[in-house]
Amino acid sequence: MSVFDYTTQPGFDLISETPNAGTTVDPKEVQLWFGPQHPGITGNMSVQLWLEGDTIKRGITHVGYLHRGFEKLMERRKFIQSFPIVCRMCVAEPDTTEYLLASSLEELSGLDQAVPEKGQWLRTLVMEMSRLQVTLMVMGGQVGTMGMGTAPNWTYTLRDFLLDSFEELTGGRVYHMYITYGGVRRDLTPGFAQRLEATLDRIEERLPYLDDLILNSAVFQQRTQGVSVVPAEWADELGITGPVLRAMGVARDTRRDYPYLKYPELDFKVCTATGSDIYARTQVRRAEIAESIHIIRQILQMMPQEGPYCAKLPNMLTWTIPAGSTYVRAESSRGEMGFVMVTDGSDTIRRVHLRGPSYTNAVTILERMLPGMNIADLSATMVSLQTCPPEIER
């Protein structure tokens, strides 16, 4: 089969560029593309809208602007070569995908017990820092979509101090490539704990002001309470996880339900809120910032200072992994992220698939929430659902 043509495939006649094709177009409706070139869109995606005045009648999500074919590329690369590209799957939060790749490969090669104690602690530290920085970014972005520039400027700067810590630990600001097979790539630098502690203090010091600007602001409350409610019965049907689920009052968290790394030894609570609207999701994120800071402080205290941080690795050029399949999961800032990993005994991955929470959030949930929504709330809704396009299309 050299050239694949859709027209020969069954179901070709179902192709329609517009939903409800064949129905007559309402002359009152205006068609509007929200994105990809739009300051209010999250990343590079677009929502095609049919508007009547300010009210959205219906809409479809279009993704695929960021598709690089990671899953195909990783099938072509040796295992160790997959590590540099896997972190590009989710731009804002690269450590989760790094961990997922490392841990799924370790599990399939039967070496998951070989990861040293300190390596596990460092992995936990990096993952939690990563969650913290994304949650800070989203907190600011949430109110930024509603036209306030002050809070995003503050939170982005706080996040930037965290990125400095990442840079010190891993050498990279955004893409860390830190978690590798068997452990992590580098040890802590001397004095890292104190500097990270100072950054955490700085964040904590600014949090009350952020509360006043965001959660306690009367305008923000009016804008968000009761807006974009995700019905509770969608939770199971659509497989919702993360802050969107916890804003419904359901205390489910991958870190606690499917314990991994050092999370069982840490003391943290699962933050929930009620209402399932944008305000509730912001409340959950606000609580998670404090919780993440608490977790990072614990990690810094409980982490062993000495010891190896990476297991002895096989020769990366001749390394093969026996055939098998698995699914590993981790809690990202958006919800449960998982890797389906299939190997076939050769030196490359047979198939890898990233299961991300944005997949349902951005397409299934968003499209079903659009009818009746005010166009002013669309951007805020997308941020509150944390629709992250690079994770949807990979």
């Binding site: 205006v30 068609q31 509007l32 739009h38 300051p39 209010g40 508007l51 005045g53 300010d54 109110v143 930024g144 979509t145 509603m146 036209g147 306030m148 520039g149 002050t150 400027n153 503050w154 700067t157 600007l213 602001s217 305008v219 923000f220 009016q222 804008r223 005010n374 166009i375 002013a376 709330d377 669309l378 951007s379």
Partner: protein, 304 residues
């Protein structure tokens, strides 16, 4: 004063006012940046922007009505400015305030926005009509308390003539309408938040919803004209508020300071709030500010 020298002085005053508007614009960007923890652009950045807009090419035109929109807008702004007396007892800076009254000024304020709406509607981009409808509904809402406040002051004086209203405020600070009629002032200053279109009332050009709203399709030279019109309108409005509520100004220095103070009232409010949706801002203006305006009118009657 003779007509032609008067025209000359008014044009000169308008030129200075537009420049002052540019500087205030630069200062606002700087102050906003400092509130947000940034360094901010240089004070003269609006001038550079203006120069750049004039030397860029325009690549598209949507018909003459579209082109006339910014002109209407600038004419509206300049019309407001030439009708307000800037410094008391200085005929060279009084403009044509003896020839028009508050009603004409409010006509010019409407005129600019309506002309802009007409022009923007021609652009053909969906963002423009959405922004226009948002802007007009919000404008209708904030005009309500503002008109009530103006009516309260005019009823107190018995005239819509702005010079007469200034004249009643020349008996010390407490005779300023800000203190003499606090209800009307509250209504008018809340309406000013909507007029200046800073958050929470910047729904018209909300970048994350309908990027720049009515002005979506406007390009370089159109934008520069709109910048000029906006400066003139802003200074005209501030001078009008100064004359109505802060007792006018006896010198240019006092005028500069009072204009700045009135302007920054809305800037500081805008720095700490997200924006309302259209129906929320309409509801806001029709609730407390309107009640204040009615109370202001009643207060005037009671004082009489």
């Amino acid at each position: 004063m003779e007509l032609f020298p008067k025209i000359g002085w008014t044009l000169l005053s308008l030129f200075v006012a537009i420049n002052y508007g540019f500087l205030i614009n630069g200062l606002i960007r700087k102050v906003m940046a400092r509130i947000q923890g940034r360094f901010g652009p240089p004070l003269w950045q609006p001038y550079i922007d203006m120069g750049k807009l004039l030397v860029q090419r325009n690549s598209i035109m949507h018909g003459y009505m579209h082109w006339l929109g910014p002109i209407f807008r600038s004419v509206g702004g300049m019309g407001v400015y030439v009708l307000v007396p800037v410094v008391i007892g200085e005929p060279r800076l009084a403009g044509f305030s003896d020839m028009g009254d508050l009603l004409l000024m409010m006509y010019f304020m409407f005129f600019g926005s309506l002309g802009m709406a007409l022009g923007a509607g021609d652009a053909g981009h969906p963002h423009s009509p959405i922004g226009v409808s948002r802007g007009l509904s919000q404008m209708t809402a904030f005009e309500m308390p503002f008109i009530l406040a103006v009516v309260a002051l005019a009823a107190h004086v018995g005239s819509f003539d702005i010079n007469a209203i200034i004249a009643t405020q020349q008996h010390g600070v407490l005779s300023w309408n800000l203190f003499a009629n606090p209800f009307a002032s509250a209504a008018a200053f809340l309406a000013l938040l909507g007029m200046n279109m800073y958050a929470p009332f910047n729904i018209v050009g909300a970048p994350t919803e309908i990027p720049v709203g009515p002005a979506t399709e406007y390009q370089n030279s159109y934008l520069s004209l709109m910048m000029i019109g906006r400066s003139a309108l802003a200074i005209g409005k501030m001078v009008m508020f100064m004359d109505l509520f802060l007792g006018g100004a006896h010198s240019i220095g006092a005028a500069v300071v009072k204009i700045l103070a009135i302007y920054f009232w809305s800037v500081f409010v805008g720095a700490v709030f997200p924006r309302f949706r259209t129906e929320q801002s309409v509801r806001f203006f029709l609730r407390w500010p309107t009640a204040f305006g009615v109370a202001g009118v009643l207060l005037t009657q009671w004082v009489r």
